[in-house]
């Protein structure tokens, strides 16, 4: 047998290229393309009264200036509302270039094309836009009060109100022995990949075809969107995603205005055109996430069992709703985590503000939901003076209750049914990893030395591998190389390696013989995209099913050639051989040659498949009915529902008694993503997620002032963690395989970020002795909280 690749720490096949500077990211393409710069609104809410381009016209190297009035056909219509929902009755989307009104700082008003970016920016700087100011609406409170409106035809700034309920929450809470209310909030952060967005388009006027490169998480859907917007037949448009320098959600949103404007200009100008987003543009004109305010009411019994839970929350979705209600729907459903309140009611209001739009950022609404639920668990523990882990254990869904149906509808429009997981086992692993039971003694010892340390924990469940489907194509070349493609895209998750491991195992070939392509619509046209921790589940399963088909075909052809029975064959190291007598063998490359009966011998390998090469059965057609030439296949994986991964984090923090500085001493993770394809890659995903969780809990926030200016729109002022802020992370894996897919896998990409704010809040609360209800928390905020909770009234938790 070839050594099994599945489950091994296989070094990434992507790396040699990327470490030596041979990667090809968006701005590494099209050096000679015309360059684009945008004039963007400096105001949060205004009517445009005039755009004067006169001064810009003298700039040497200027090629074109476009404003809304230049847009034709469907380009003059608003951009699509990607995910409609019956309750989203007041959805609004922007125009590619502002049509008379701007609704956030950063909204594109004019597009400048020039011979290079420096010149384009010179010209953009000379365009004068005149405005009539409108009152800006900033923050959940202002949106909710609705004294001013973002869109004058949207009453109350409410795009949607959506409620789901299972059981009778109000009655259950009213009947409970103990009841409480909490108000909990989370501020805005953002995906903030190191590479911003970018688009490069080439129009071939002879062929009437368009080739677009874009730094996206979904090339197939961008292709459809461009074809629709530009009124081109879809088969004249191809979208090829180059290397992508991180996505974390922001690049699943599409089409961005630039993704339709750049191709549109390339066609008009008959020349390649490129736009590369700069960092300030990324802050003010891409997307943010997380800002939500939650009001929570719950009832529980003396044992700490949560009986009824009612949550109402307000979601700040920014100026437009192109991505629908996905983020708040995820909060409202995934809030439940590993727990099973008897009755649950959740209602959210999705509100307009004059700020950058909100679309999913890694975790996508789950960090907020997890924060709410885990604060509730900690409240119950504190109130009843119970161990926080014990309260959680008493509320867990038990392994023998799987599959567990919550009676709600999930983000994929399907029932929220957990397929797998063993929460008590995960908790036991976490307690032993962090030394939960020993910590009280450590905390007390530290306190005697005048130090403040605290431990916190948080649990989450994450629906991963969301449908509708992904596909795979696998072909064995006549030199024995196995080429694989899948339509979704890659932003650093090591998909080439992970998919090569799967296909390598199925076809009995080493990883270095497998070449994987993602995100290239020339290679694979049907796909959804990379989000919701879905690649291993969806494309992993799809390429596994495809490789099995190809394997079956290879064995059939080899059985013929070897005059053996299919059942007696195996594939080892790229050779099909008879089990137990390896001398009877045929190379996979030869099988590939034989799979394609030829008339012409264009190379040596091909000669063996031509008509006079012998051994064809003259009584049968060269290609059997129902068969196809070539050792290749295509298959799709489309599950009935998502698969649910889960995990638990524990964190130990120390807070400085004087300065209120917050330092993480230990960070422990127990993670269950089903069977693990490559532990090295999964751990890397967890590390990166935790770093973003730490950032979101302690450092990152989008600081809008009352006029709607994002005052910290640079890496200097938006505090992303450096190496000094991210702790070493200790990880243990529990593997409860998913019964839903052929590999038993569950998603791993987003998990690390989800419980960050919840766990860290829990730890700070433990260290300080007073409740933490808003995240992120800075040292100055903690300092202020201390002043509100003078030491004597503090209760030792």
């Amino acid at each position: 047998m070839t050594t099994k690749l599945f489950g091994q720490r296989v070094p990434r096949v992507e790396d040699p290229r990327l470490v030596s500077g041979q990667g090809r990211y968006l701005d590494d393409l099209g050096h000679d393309a015309l360059a684009v710069a945008f004039v963007r609104s400096p105001h949060a809410h205004a009517r445009i009264t005039d755009i004067d381009v006169t001064a810009a016209l003298d700039v040497d190297g200027l090629v074109a200036i476009y404003t809304y009035d230049d847009l034709d056909g469907r380009m003059a219509e608003p951009l699509p509302l990607l995910i409609p929902h019956p309750t989203l009755t007041q959805g609004r989307t922007p125009y590619p270039l502002a049509n008379g009104e701007v609704n956030h700082v950063g909204e594109a008003i004019a597009m400048v094309v020039a011979t290079d970016r420096y010149v384009a920016e010179d010209a953009a700087g000379l365009i004068e836009v005149s405005y009539d100011f409108l009152p800006p609406v900033v923050g959940v409170e202002a949106a909710r009060e609705a004294v001013d409106l973002v869109h004058e035809d949207v009453p109350g700034n409410v795009a949607a109100t959506y409620m789901q309920e299972t059981g009778d929450a109000a009655a259950t809470i009213a009947a409970a022995a103990l009841r409480a209310r909490l108000q909990l909030s989370i501020e805005r952060s953002a995906s903030m990949p190191m590479e911003g967005k970018g688009v490069h388009a080439r129009w071939d006027d002879d062929d009437k075809s368009l080739l677009v490169n874009t730094s996206t998480q979904t090339s197939t859907s961008v292709r459809q969107a461009i074809a629709a917007k530009l009124s081109l037949p879809v088969d004249r448009v191809e979208v090829v995603t180059p290397d992508v320098g991180g996505g974390f959600g922001v690049k699943i949103m599409h089409p961005w205005p630039e993704e339709v404007l750049v191709p549109w200009a390339a066609i008009r100008l008959g020349a390649p055109v490129k736009w590369v987003e700069d960092r300030r543009e990324h802050f003010i004109s891409s997307a943010h996430e997380r800002g939500q305010l939650h009001e929570v009411e719950f009832g529980y019994d003396e044992d700490g069992v949560l009986l009824g839970l009612s949550v109402e929350f307000w979601h700040d979705h920014g100026a437009y709703t192109p991505y629908g209600l996905i983020v708040p729907i995820i909060t409202s459903t995934q809030l439940l985590g590993p727990y099973k309140p008897r009755a649950y009611r959740v209602e959210f209001h999705s509100l307009y503000t004059n700020t950058v739009i909100v679309t999913p950022y890694r975790g996508a609404g789950r960090p907020q939901g997890c924060f709410v639920m885990e604060r509730v668990m900690d409240y119950i523990a504190r109130d009843l003076d119970l161990d926080r882990a014990v309260v959680r254990e008493r509320n867990f869904i038990q392994p023998d209750e799987m599959p567990y149906d919550h009676g709600l509808i999930f983000q994929d429009g399907r029932p929220l049914i957990y397929d797998s997981g063993d929460f008590p086992a995960s908790m036991a692993m976490l307690k032993s990893l962090v030394g939960w039971d020993e910590f009280v003694a450590q905390r007390d010892a530290a306190r005697r030395e005048g130090r403040r340390v605290g431990i916190g924990l948080a649990c989450y469940v994450e629906g991963t591998g969301v449908g509708p489907y992904e596909g795979g194509h696998v072909r064995v070349e006549t030199d024995g190389t196995v080429v694989v493609s899948t339509g979704l895209t890659t932003q650093g998750q090591g998909h080439q390696t992970m998919l090569a491991q799967i296909v390598g195992d199925e076809l009995g070939v080493p990883v270095d013989r497998v070449r994987v392509t993602t995100g290239d619509t020339r290679r694979f046209k049907y796909a959804v995209g990379t989000f919701a921790s879905r690649t291993a589940v969806m494309s992993g399963s799809a390429v596994a099913l495809t490789a099995r088909k190809v394997r079956a075909k290879a064995l059939r052809i080899a059985a013929d050639a070897l005059e053996a029975s299919v059942d007696d064959l195996e594939i080892v190291d790229g050779r099909v051989q008879v089990k137990g007598s390896p001398s009877a063998q045929i190379d996979l490359s030869t099988v590939a040659v034989l799979s394609n009966p030829l008339r012409y011998a264009f190379d040596d390998a091909a000669r063996r498949a031509t008509q006079f090469a012998g051994r064809a059965d003259p009584t049968k057609p060269p290609v059997d009915p129902g068969d196809e030439p070539g050792l290749e296949g295509t298959d799709y994986y489309s599950p009935t529902q998502s698969t649910f991964a889960n995990g638990m984090h524990a964190v130990i923090v120390e807070t400085d008694p004087e300065t209120a500085e917050i330092k993480i001493l230990r960070y422990c993770v127990v993670h269950d993503c089903g069977t693990v394809i490559n532990p090295m890659i999964v751990e890397g995903q967890v590390h990166g997620g935790v770093a973003q969780g730490v950032g979101g809990a302690l450092y990152e926030r989008m600081e809008y002032d009352a006029s709607g200016q994002l005052v910290n729109a640079s890496f200097m002022d938006f505090l992303m963690p450096y190496a000094s802020e991210v702790p070493s992370i200790e990880i243990d894996h529990l593997q409860t395989p998913s019964p839903l897919n052929p590999l038993g896998v569950k998603g791993a990409g987003e998990a690390g970020v989800i419980p960050g704010s919840a766990a860290i809040a829990s730890a700070i609360e433990d260290a300080e002795g007073f409740p933490i209800t808003a995240m992120p928390i800075s040292p100055s905020e903690l300092f202020a909280l201390r002043a509100e909770h003078p030491a004597p009234s503090r209760r030792a938790p």
Binding site: P11, R12, E14, D15, P16, L18, V19, S20, G21, Q22, G23, R24, Y25, D27, D28, H31, D58, V59, D60, Y118, D122, M192, P193, M194, E195, D243, V244, G245, G246, F248, D278, R279, Q491, G492, Q493, G494, M680, I681, E683, G684, Q685, H687, G688, G689, V690, A691, Q692, S714, F715, M716, M720, Y722, A723, S724, V726, S728, I729, G752
Partner: protein
């Protein structure tokens, strides 16, 4: 409004290159778009992320904060130049692969140049020193833990290589 071009000479990864650039052209743009070595990346263009770090006469510098004209006559090393003499992965590059110290790879070239210079002055760092050494570079993917490990691994590879050369009687 035509810009006057300035002729400059850079030694880029050991190869002299003559470029003609306007006075305001950033060194990062000159390396990437004029010399077409795109391994050096630009993550912020305001000197904070470190993705654009190159070695200028051996010192790590943020090429987004330098004008190309001010690098006239300098020796510049980018990640493309951190390979072995035969074009294989250099010690830091190899260590990044061994330790899974990169995901998307966008920040990686800035780390590789920074670490290459650091190991020149500190060939046997402690873990704390390794973490400190990468403290000015942002990575959004990895959480840094594996990058710290890669610094230590790179130092180990370099020591093994110089030991091997010593045993073979070659100058280290």
């Amino acid at each position: 409004m035509t810009e006057t071009p300035h002729d400059i000479t850079l030694t880029l990864n050991g190869t002299p290159r003559r470029l003609s650039v306007p006075a305001r052209r950033l060194l990062s743009d000159a390396i990437r778009h004029d010399a077409r070595l795109t391994g050096t990346h630009v993550g912020c263009e305001h000197g904070v992320c470190g993705a654009c770090t190159v070695l200028v006469d051996g010192q790590p510098m943020r090429s987004c904060l330098m004008f190309a004209v001010s690098a006239d006559g300098a020796e510049i090393t980018t990640t493309e130049g951190c390979t072995t003499a035969t074009g294989g992965l250099g010690p830091v590059q190899q260590a990044f692969r061994d330790c899974h110290a990169l995901q998307c790879g966008f920040c990686t070239p800035g780390f590789i140049t920074t670490i290459t210079a650091f190991l020149e002055t500190n060939p046997d760092p402690t873990e704390d020193e390794a973490r400190e050494a990468i403290g000015g570079n942002l990575c959004r993917c990895t959480g840094y833990q594996n990058i710290v490990a890669a610094v230590l691994r790179a130092a180990q590879i370099q020591r093994e290589q110089s030991q091997l050369q010593g045993e073979q009687g070659q100058p280290a």
